[in-house]
C-alpha cells in the first residue's frame, strides 16, 4: 500500500493510494493561492488599475514590458489569473481507477485530472458535492470569462530571480494554468457516479469504498476503503461542531489499519464561534453608522450560517430593514439547492421538513425580500432594488475577480464602509494589496469549522488507528505563528508524514484473502481433529476467479486429484511398527541398522533403502509400484490429516 502526494497544500488535498492493484485518487483540490499575485479583473475598466505603473526588472529584456505592474511597491501580474493544478508526472492519471471526492471544495481541480489525460475511471461523490461543486466551478469560470484580458502574460516566469518578494518565492509558476471552461466542467463531471452516505461501492471487485458523513459542509464525507481484511480511513475536511450539515460519523472510522488525516483547520488560532459573533457585531455596527458591509464569500457553505445568524442579530437590534444582497451568478441555484438537500442536514434542520418548513431560514428571508439574490451587479432589477446602507455577500473571496472587485473599488474610499473576511482560505492583507490605499475598514473574522489540532488529537485518540498518516506540515507550527507549538499535531506516537511529490509506503502487507467455498466441496472435506477446537484437512480444489472474486469448487479432473497428496503425515515414526507392517505386506527381508540420529532399513531383494530420522523418512528405490506400496504402508504408521 503506497501513498503518492500530489499537492503541497493540506487544505487542497490530492493524494493517490495504491492497494491490491487498485489506484485510488483521494480528492483533487485546487490550489488557488497563486491568484493573489495577479491584478484584479474589474467588471468595468478601472481607471485606477489602468494607471498603475508598469514594472520591469533591471536585467530583463523589453518583452516583459506590460506583464507586471506596481501598486504600493507590490508587483502584480497583469494577466488572466492562473491556478496551480495537482502535480502531474508522479502518477499516470490514465491508471487511476476511481477518484474519491470528500467535499465540493476538494474537487475543483477535477478537469485537470480527467480531461485529456486518458483518465478512464469513475469519480465518486455525493449528490450535494456534485451540485454545489458544479456551482463553485461554474461561478469561477463565469467570473473569469466575463472579464476577458487581451494579453496573457507568461514571460515573467523566466525572470523569477530578478523579481522582488513575494513573487520570486512562488512555487512552480510554469505549471500554473489558466482556468478551465464550461465545456471542461461538463466533461469532467460526466465521469461522476453519485453515492449515498454508507453506500458500499465496489471497485474492480477488489475493494469496497464507502462515504461517511464528515460534518463539515453539505454532503461532505470521509472515505473508508476496505478489503475483506484491511481498512483504510481517509479523513478530509471534518467538523465536530454543530452547524447546518449532518454530524460527523465517527464510529465508522474506528479501528482502521491506516488513518490518513488532512484538511485540518486553516486558521487554528481563531475560534469559529467567537468569529461568527464578531462578524455579526461588526456588520451591525457598520450599517448602523450608515456604512455598507461587503462580505466576500463562496456561493455555498458558511454563508448559509451567516445569513441565519446575521438576520437574527439584526432583528434583535431592530435593523431588520437593512437589505441583504447575495450577488453571484449562482446565488439562485445555491439557495434553491440548499433547501432540497434536507436529507444531508443536521437533524434539527431535517426535522423542519416534517413540519412543512424549509430547512434553511434563508428560504423565508428570500420570500419576504430581506435577502435578495442577483446574478450580478448588472442583473435586471439590481439597480432599482439597491439601497444603502446594505450588506452585500458576493464572490470571489480572493478579491481578484467577481463582483467583490467592483464593490471594493466603489466603496473603498469611505471609512464608514467595511469589508469582512470570513473565508479562511485567503489572507486579507494579501487580498487587499492591489486596492491600496483603502479607507474602507477591513475586519478579519475567519470562520473555519473544520477540526483544529485539539479536536484532531481528541478524535485520533478515540479512533485508535493502527497507523496515522498526516501532512508533514502538521508537525510544525504554522509559519505565521512559529512560537505556537500548541498549533501542531503533537502526539505521543509520531505519525507517518508526507509532503508534496513524495511517495510513502504505508507498510500494510496483506496476509489473507476471502474466498467462497462451494457447498459440494465443503461436504466432501474429511476433517481430522488435531486437538479440541482445532481440526484440519488437506484440500485440493479448483480455484475460479471472476471480477477479482474467488470461488473454490470441487475438482472434476480425477487425474489431477490422484497426483496430489490427499494427506500429510506428522510426528515421529516407530521403526518397529514399520517393520511389522512391512512383514505383513510380504516384505520380510528388512534389515534394520541403527546409527546415531538415523535408522536405515534395507530391503535387499527389492533394492530399497529407507532412511528414517527425527520427523523425516527417505525412500530410495527403483520401482514405482513398490514405492507407492511403501508410501502407503508408511502413511499408515503415521498420524496424518
Amino acid at each position: 500500500m503506497k501513498l503518492y502526494c500530489l499537492s503541497g497544500h493540506p487544505n487542497k488535498p490530492c493524494n493517490v493510494v495504491t492497494f491490491k492493484s487498485v489506484t485510488l485518487m483521494l480528492d483533487c483540490g485546487l490550489d488557488m493561492s497563486s491568484v493573489s499575485h495577479f491584478l484584479p479583473l474589474p467588471l468595468v475598466a478601472s481607471h485606477r488599475l489602468g494607471s498603475l505603473s508598469t514594472w520591469v526588472p533591471r536585467d530583463a529584456d523589453s518583452q516583459l514590458e506590460g506583464e507586471l505592474r506596481e501598486c504600493m511597491s507590490r508587483i502584480f501580474i497583469d494577466s488572466p489569473p492562473e491556478i496551480g493544478p495537482p502535480t502531474s508526472g508522479l502518477v499516470d492519471f490514465a491508471e487511476v481507477d476511481a477518484i474519491l471526492v470528500s467535499n465540493y471544495l476538494s474537487m475543483l481541480a477535477l478537469p485537470f485530472i480527467t480531461n485529456g489525460t486518458g483518465f478512464k475511471g469513475v469519480v465518486l461523490m455525493t449528490e450535494p458535492t456534485m451540485q454545489v461543486g458544479r456551482i463553485f466551478m461554474e461561478e469561477l469560470v463565469e467570473y473569469i470569462e466575463r472579464t476577458p484580458k487581451a494579453r496573457h502574460a507568461y514571460r515573467w516566469k523566466h525572470y523569477l530571480r530578478s523579481l522582488p518578494q513575494p513573487l520570486c518565492d512562488v512555487k512552480g509558476p510554469k505549471t500554473w494554468q489558466q482556468a478551465y471552461s464550461l465545456k471542461d466542467i461538463n466533461s469532467a463531471l460526466s465521469h461522476v457516479q453519485i453515492v449515498a452516505y454508507n453506500e458500499k461501492i465496489d471497485i474492480c471487485g477488489a475493494l469496497k469504498v464507502t462515504a461517511v458523513s464528515s460534518g463539515f459542509c453539505l454532503g461532505s464525507c470521509n472515505w473508508l476503503i476496505s478489503s475483506d481484511h484491511e481498512k483504510l480511513a481517509y479523513l478530509s475536511g471534518s467538523s465536530t461542531l454543530t452547524t447546518h450539515p449532518r454530524p460527523i460519523d465517527q464510529t465508522s472510522l474506528k479501528n482502521a489499519d491506516v488513518l490518513i488525516m488532512t484538511a485540518l483547520n486553516h486558521t487554528p488560532m481563531f475560534n469559529p464561534d467567537s468569529m461568527l459573533g464578531e462578524f455579526c457585531v461588526a456588520v451591525a455596527q457598520t450599517v448602523r453608522s450608515g456604512g455598507n458591509a461587503l462580505v466576500p464569500c463562496y456561493p455555498s457553505g458558511v454563508v448559509y450560517d451567516l445569513f441565519e445568524c446575521l438576520s437574527n442579530h439584526l432583528d434583535n437590534l431592530g435593523l431588520s430593514l437593512i437589505p441583504m444582497y447575495f450577488v453571484s451568478p449562482m446565488a439562485e441555484s445555491s439557495l434553491a439547492y440548499s433547501n432540497i438537500f434536507s436529507e444531508w442536514l443536521s437533524s434539527s434542520k431535517q426535522g423542519k421538513v416534517y413540519n412543512m418548513d424549509d430547512p434553511f431560514p434563508h428560504a423565508h428571508l428570500t420570500r419576504t425580500g430581506r435577502l435578495k439574490p442577483f446574478k450580478s451587479l448588472h442583473a435586471e432589477g439590481f439597480s432599482s432594488e439597491y439601497r444603502q446602507p446594505c450588506i452585500v455577500f458576493c464572490g470571489h473571496p480572493s478579491l481578484r475577480f467577481g463582483d467583490a472587485v467592483h464593490f471594493i473599488e466603489m466603496w473603498g474610499n469611505n471609512p464608514q464602509n467595511a469589508v469582512l473576511f470570513t473565508e479562511p482560505e485567503f489572507d486579507f492583507a494579501e487580498a487587499l494589496a492591489p486596492f491600496q490605499p483603502l479607507a474602507m475598514r477591513p475586519v478579519y473574522c475567519p470562520i473555519d469549522t473544520s477540526l483544529n489540532f485539539t479536536q484532531a488529537r481528541k478524535l485520533i485518540s478515540e479512533l485508535k488507528p493502527g497507523k496515522l498518516v498526516v501532512p508533514e506540515m502538521y508537525l510544525r507550527p504554522p509559519p505565521s505563528a512559529p512560537h505556537r507549538t500548541d498549533l501542531t499535531l503533537n502526539l505521543e506516537e509520531t505519525p507517518l508524514t508526507y509532503s508534496e511529490c513524495q511517495v510513502l509506503d504505508l507498510g500494510i502487507h496483506r496476509r489473507l484473502e476471502s474466498v467462497k467455498l462451494a457447498p459440494g466441496l465443503a461436504l466432501a472435506l474429511n476433517l481430522s481433529n488435531i486437538r479440541p477446537g482445532l481440526s484440519t484437512a488437506t484440500i485440493s480444489a479448483g480455484l475460479h476467479v471472476q471480477d477479482n472474486k474467488y470461488v473454490l469448487k470441487p475438482l472434476e479432473d480425477e487425474d489431477t486429484i490422484s497426483k496430489l497428496p490427499n494427506s500429510y503425515p506428522y510426528g515421529n515414526l516407530s521403526v518397529d511398527d514399520l517393520v511389522q507392517r512391512l512383514a505383513q505386506a510380504g516384505l520380510t527381508d528388512a534389515r534394520v541398522e541403527e546409527l546415531p540420529g538415523v535408522c536405515i532399513i534395507t530391503l535387499e531383494n527389492e533394492d530399497v533403502i529407507i532412511k528414517i530420522s527425527d520427523a523425516s523418512t527417505h525412500i530410495i528405490c527403483s520401482n514405482t509400484k513398490l514405492r507407492e506400496k511403501l508410501r502407503d504402508i508408511l502413511l499408515e504408521c503415521l498420524s496424518s490429516f
Binding site: 449528490e127 453515492v195 449515498a196 452516505y197 454508507n198 453506500e199 458500499k200 475483506d228 481484511h229 439562485e332 432540497i340 438537500f341 436529507e343 421538513v353 416534517y354 412543512m356 489473507l512 484473502e513 476471502s514 474466498v515 467462497k516 467455498l517 462451494a518 457447498p519 465443503a522 488435531i530 482445532l534 484440519t536 484437512a537 488437506t538 484440500i539 485440493s540 480444489a541 479448483g542 480455484l543 475460479h544 476467479v545 474467488y550 473454490l552 475438482l555 487425474d559 497426483k563 496430489l564 497428496p565 500429510y568 503425515p569 506428522y570 510426528g571 520427523a615 523425516s616 523418512t617 527417505h618 525412500i619 528405490c621 527403483s622 514405482t624 514405492r627 508410501r631 508408511l634 503415521l638
Partner: protein, 620 residues
Amino acid sequence: MPEIKVTPLGAGQDVGRSCILVTIGGKNIMLDCGMHMGYNDDRRFPDFSYITDGPLTDYLDCIIISHFHLDHCGALPYMTEMVGYNGPIYMTQPTKALCPVLLEDMRKVAVERKGETNFFTSVMIKDCMKKVVTVTLHETLQVDSDLEIKAYYAGHVLGAAMFHIRVGSQSLVYTGDYNMTPDRHLGAAWIDKCRPDLLISESTYATTIRDSKRCRERDFLKKVHDAVDRGGKVLIPVFALGRVQELCILLDTYWDRMNLKVPIYFTMGLAETANKYYRMFITWTNQKIRRTFVHRNMFDFKHIKPFDKSYMDNPGPMVVFATPGMLHAGLSLAIFKKWASNANNMVIMPGYCVQGTVGHKILNGAKKIDFENRTSVEVNLTVEYMSFSAHADAKGIMQLIRHCEPKNVMLVHGENAKMEFLKQKIMQEFNINCYKPGNGETSIIPVSIDLDVEVSLPLLKHTMALPTSSSSSSSSSSSSSSSSSSSRGNNTEENRTKKQKVLHGVLIMKNNNLRIVGVNEAWGDLGVTAHNLRFTERIEVDETGPVPALTSALHTLLSQKLGSSQVQAVNEFQLSVADSVFINIQDDEPGKTILLSWTHQDEGLGSKLLDIIKSNYKKS
C-alpha cells in the same frame, strides 16, 4: 439447509393491506403494515396476534415501510401504539413526512365523519412516527450486527422504495409497489444485479401489458378538451397524493401548449400540502424536474388555481380536481351532486374504486344514485375511467426479475388468478421457483449458502501463478506429438475449465473460523511437526555419452515439457525442477543412472517427471 420463511398477513393473493412477515437468517422482519380500504371492521387491520403470543417488540427485529399509501402503512399506529411495538421502523424521508399526513386524514374521516371509536388518535400517530428511522437511497443501514437493509428507488409515488435485506449470505428484495417506466414527475424503479435468494414482488398488473402511456395521456387530454370545448364542466376525483400531481403536470403543460383559458382548480388543503412536499423532495422526482427546478418548479402550476366552494355554481366550463378519489364523501361528492344531471359535464375516475362507493356505482353504469338523506341524483354526465396507477405491468415485473437475478420469486399484492398466470410464465422463462402464498399461509424457501473461507495470500499467489489446469493437458502431455493435436481437439473442454487453477493446501478450522494455508505454512499454525517424506527413484538408462551431455539433453527435454523457467541446471550433473524436485545423474558404466528425488508434497510433479523421463529414456 437454511431457509427463508415468508407469511403474508395481508396482500397474499389479494390487493390491499400489504403486511408480510419474513424470517431470514434468524431475523424476523415485517414488510409494510397496511390496512384494507374495503373493510370497516376488524378485517381492515392485519391479525397481529398471529405473529407471536408474546410482545411484538421481542419478536420482531424491525418493520420496513415501502411507501406512504395507506394500504402499506395504514395499520402502523394501530400496531405500534395499540397492539404495542417499540422496535425500529424504517422508511424513506418523504414517506416519513407524508405518512402522518395521510394517517391523520384517514383518522379524521373514520372518527369525525363515520363516528368510529376505538381508533388511533393524533397523539398516537405522532408517537408512532417518533419510532421511525429514515433511510437514504442506496445507503447500507445496519439494523444490528447481522442484519442490513438497503433502499432502492421504486417510482410509484414520491419516496417509494424497494428494500434489499441481507443477513450474512442470505438476502431478499421486497419491491413494495413499483413502476418500471418513468412518468412526468417520477423516475423508473431501479435496482442493481444483487442476486437475492428471494424477490418478493407486487403483481397488481400481473397480466396486463398496458397500452402505451402516451396514448392514454392523449386520450385523457382529448376527453377533457372536448368536454370544455362544448362548455361542459369536468370533475376529476383524486386522492391528494400521488396521481394528482402527475395529472396536474399533464394538464398544466397541455393548457400552456394549447393556450387554453378555461380555468383549472384543485381543492385546497391536502393537495396543496402535497405540492409543497413535492417541492421540498425534488431529489426524489425524475431527471427532468430535478434539472430544471431552480428556474421552473414543475409543482408551481401556471394554470391551476385553488378551488373555492362557491365556484361550483359558476357558469361556463371548468376542470376541477377534488378529493376524495372514490366519490365516497367530501367535496368531490358535493360537486358531483351538483353537476351529475347535466349531460354536458363529465367525470373522469383516474383510479380504482372500492365496492360501495359512488365511484364504484357510476363506473358500473348506475343511472340514478340514492343518498342516505333520501335525496337522489340522476347521472346524466359522461363517466370515464382511466387508470393512471403507477404499477409495473407484466413486462415490467419480468424486466425487474431479469435485472436483479433472484434465485426465487414470490408474488404478492395481486389477484390470485392473474398471479397464477404470471407465476407460470416466470417459472418457464427463468427456470426458478415462484411462490404465491395466501394470507396466513407460510412459504418456506430453501437457500443454499457458500461458506466463506480465508486463504493465505502466499498460497493464493502461488496458485494463481500456476499454469491453468484443463482436463486434457495432464493426460496428453506424455508425448509431444499428440499433445498439440489433442489440445486442439479438446478446445471446448479447455474453455470450460479455462479460469480454473488447482489450489492445494491445508484447511484449518479453529473456533469455527475457516482458513486455508499452504502446506508449509500449516505446521506452525497447527503446532505439530511435519514428518517429511522424500522419495528417490533410480532410473537406469542406456546413454553412453558423457554425463554433462545427458544433463543438458534432459534440461532441454524438461524445459520443452514444463516451460524453461521451471528447470534449472545446478551443475554438470544436477538439475532442479521448480526448486523442489532434484535430478542427479551418475555415471554407471556402461549406461547412466538418473536419480529423481521429490517430497511427498510434490508427488504430482515427481510422478509427472518420472513419466517423462521413463518414456524418453527406456532401457532396452
